[in-house]
Amino acid sequence: MELIKDGIRIDGRKKDELRDIKIEVGVLKRADGSAYVEWGMNKVYAAVYGPRELFPRFLRRSDKAVLQCKYNMASFSVDERKRPGPDRRSVEISKVTGGALEPVVLTENFPESVINVNIEVVQAEAGTRCAGITAASVALADAGIPMKDLVPACAAGKVSGEIILDLCKEEDNFGESDLPIAMIPRTGGISLLQMDGLMTGEELEEALNLAKKGCEIIYEKQKEALRKRYKGDDHD
């Protein structure tokens, strides 16, 4: 299969082009904060509850809130029905998502409590963890949790020897490598970094820079979505 031809990718995008991304804020009534992200074929909800009491008590921390992230995929979100409930992959993604968001959340303001972040993937097609983190940080802001910044996330990778942005399904399956990152735009820090496949040092640097560019575009979309939700408020 030819994944890139004359600089055009299998789904018609240029090498540094993102899929279509739509972000909505405050989509779930019962959640303290929520967001919905459509990213290409991906459809992801995020809901934030808290800060609230943490049970069981031994999990509490006297110096800060515990940020509990849960990533889950609907059984019908993929071609072959997935067995409901957590598997090893989703447990790992939950953990790295926590690590991606933790640096920006002022957890020290809420000792002894928990902030729950639930990410629900209802349709999946490559890049769900990035879509999940992007949605989660917007949902945290919607919940009014004090934060230093939003956290956009985006992947870059190597496909047919070329470094490209935001891999689609075919590129993820048949490409050489995949590098999802999350960024804290104010500092330029990277709070999620995973990589699989083969890349040289130069290629990695190029991919990191490309992914950061992608994150900057998503950052604007996050802010735009929040502004749209809270337009007209005095503190706009």
């Binding site: 019962r30 609230r52 049970f55 019908f76």
Partner: protein, 269 residues
């Protein structure tokens, strides 16, 4: 988590007093449903899907169709399973993990309506009797829990089933390029009532569910038969009350069935 979904005394009294006056907190009449919005086909990865909004309650149903062996006692019937996930996204009081009482009851009540109607022509989904049949998975994902999950789930499930497309199989049982709808016989529609004091109201909201004394779900099918019922809650119903609920269910069932059919016709699904 040991937290439970509590309601304050003042809110409880407010709802009880309103009911005594024939009123509800959101201004609806006792026989009035919240607005139903159905969005079929929104999950392309699933063979069928529907997002149902009943007021602020949101349920996403996804249908996956696979092949498998039939149960030994029903070799001439397809297999259908219904599963409901009360995911922590949907409420401050839902936890992840294996299904608990509430989600099992929800899935079984929705399943019973569909199975007993019957909505699906199960024998026609047999590929080779006793060996290979289609397996229909109905997965209910609760996204926002604002009361009456039973009816929202029923609407999502039946609309998803009616808009499901599965591959036609060739003689060896291999899928072809051609698609066909599921063989649907009927559209079961459930109606859930809450008994609050001496009053019975339809489509209970989140707060009404917390104060209700008893709950009754009646599922009816196209010909006006009742195909499933489920009573919940700690109190009781009189026969007159039950018959009144049944009558209302048949009437509401007709309206909802028409809404679903009109939508499917309009969208050309």
């Amino acid at each position: 988590m040991t937290e439970v979904d509590l309601i304050s005394h003042i809110e409880r009294d407010y709802i009880l007093n309103l009911a005594k006056k024939g009123e509800r907190e959101d201004g609806r009449g006792f026989d009035e449903y919240r607005k139903l919005l159905l969005q079929p086909g929104i999950i392309k990865k699933a063979e069928g899907s529907c997002l149902a909004n009943l007021g602020e309650t949101k349920v996403l149903a996804g249908i996956k169709v696979d092949k498998g062996t039939p149960f030994p006692d029903t070799p001439d019937q397809a297999v259908m399973t219904t599963n409901a996930e009360l995911i922590p996204l949907a409420s401050p009081f839902f936890e992840s993990g294996p299904p608990k009482e509430d989600s099992i009851e929800l899935a079984r009540v929705v399943d019973r309506g569909i199975r007993e109607a019957p909505a699906l022509d199960m024998p026609s989904l047999v590929i080779k009797e006793g060996e290979l049949v289609r397996v229909v998975f109905i997965d209910l994902h609760i996204l926002d829990s604002d009361g009456n999950l039973f009816d929202a789930s029923n609407r999502a499930a039946v609309t998803a089933l009616r808009t499901t497309k599965i591959p036609v199989l060739d003689e060896e049982g291999n899928p072809t390029e051609d698609l066909m709808p599921l063989p649907m016989l009927k559209t079961p529609v459930s109606c859930t009532f809450a008994k609050i004091g001496e009053n019975i109201l339809v489509d209970p909201s989140q707060n009404e569910e917390k104060v209700l004394d008893a709950r009754l779900t009646v599922t009816t099918e196209d010909n006006g038969y009742i195909c499933a019922m489920q009573k919940g809650g700690d109190s009781q119903f009189t026969v007159d009350e039950i018959m009144d609920c049944v009558k209302k269910s048949i009437k509401i069932g007709k309206e909802i069935r028409k809404t679903i059919s009109d939508l499917i016709k309009k969208e050309g699904l």
